[in-house]
Amino acid sequence: MNQYPNAVTSIPSSALATNKLIRNTYMLLSMTLLFSAAAAAVGVFMHVSQGVALISNIAAIALLWFVLPRTANSATGIPVLFGITGLFGLGLGPILNFYLSVNPSIVMTAMGGTGAIFLGLSAYALTTRKDFSFLAGFLMVGMFVVLGAALLNIFFAIPALFLAVNVAVIMIMSGFILFQTSAIINGGETNYIMATAGLFLSILNLFTALLQLLGAFSGDD
């Protein structure tokens, strides 16, 4: 005789919904990362210029700001997200071409490092289930300051500021990964398309900053 007739149904529905959200987010994230990597490979082989990369990044940001929030609650959100990640991938073409021609091991190290940091931070947030929502203000201010510094450095081209910006981006994106993963677990984010977009952007920025930092310290450029 079954002593626990309701053992399966006693799992709270919110926990099931959270597990489904986590599963869908990580599945979509892995697919978008693969798609973005394929687009980046196209960018590398076609020797995409910096101008095309800039236009590609602007188009991706425009889709992210103005189209994705309106389509994220429907099936249209998925092709839009793939469009965004593909455009960002294509935009990586020139920087990847540069570092692949200088020292290909830098690209591999940056890729492995990004993967290790993302997996480590996600695993920490998922297993401890800590709430990192208190980071919201700090991360947004940090991002604002970093963008301001990057804007200034376009005109002044100070190497130390370039390094500082990249170090800050790595720290801020690490914080964003904790913040976004904790939002998925604790109910701050309930849409897996928006959750994927947030995590994808953190991984992309982390990879780019790590690549530039490793490139700067490798002594090859």
């Binding site: 910096q50 101008g51 800039l54 990044n57 602007i58 940001i61 700001w65 020292n103 091991s105 830098i106 190290t109 940056a110 490092g113 290790a116 940091i117 480590g120 931070l121 920490y124 800590k130 990192f132 929502s133 208190f134 980071l135 919201a136 203000g137 991360l139 947004m140 201010v141 991002m143 604002f144 963008l147 301001g148 990057a150 804007l151 376009i154 005109f155 170090v167 790595i170 720290m171 690490s174 914080g175 904790l178 790590l210 930092l213 490793l214 310290f217 490798s218």
Partner: protein, 59 residues
Amino acid sequence: MDWLKIGSALFLGAMLVYLFPRMRQAVKHAPKGSNKDWLNFAMIIAVVALFVLLLISMV
């Protein structure tokens, strides 16, 4: 100055304009963390920083 620098500057400027109201809102409405929360976060970031230093030493 080439158009690429101007384009990048306009792009970053637009991002700053877009981010500013969201940053103010986040600062006003985000829950406050305890000292323990911040210490925990600082330790995680320190581990990330050590890992990045390890990666730098490898290249």
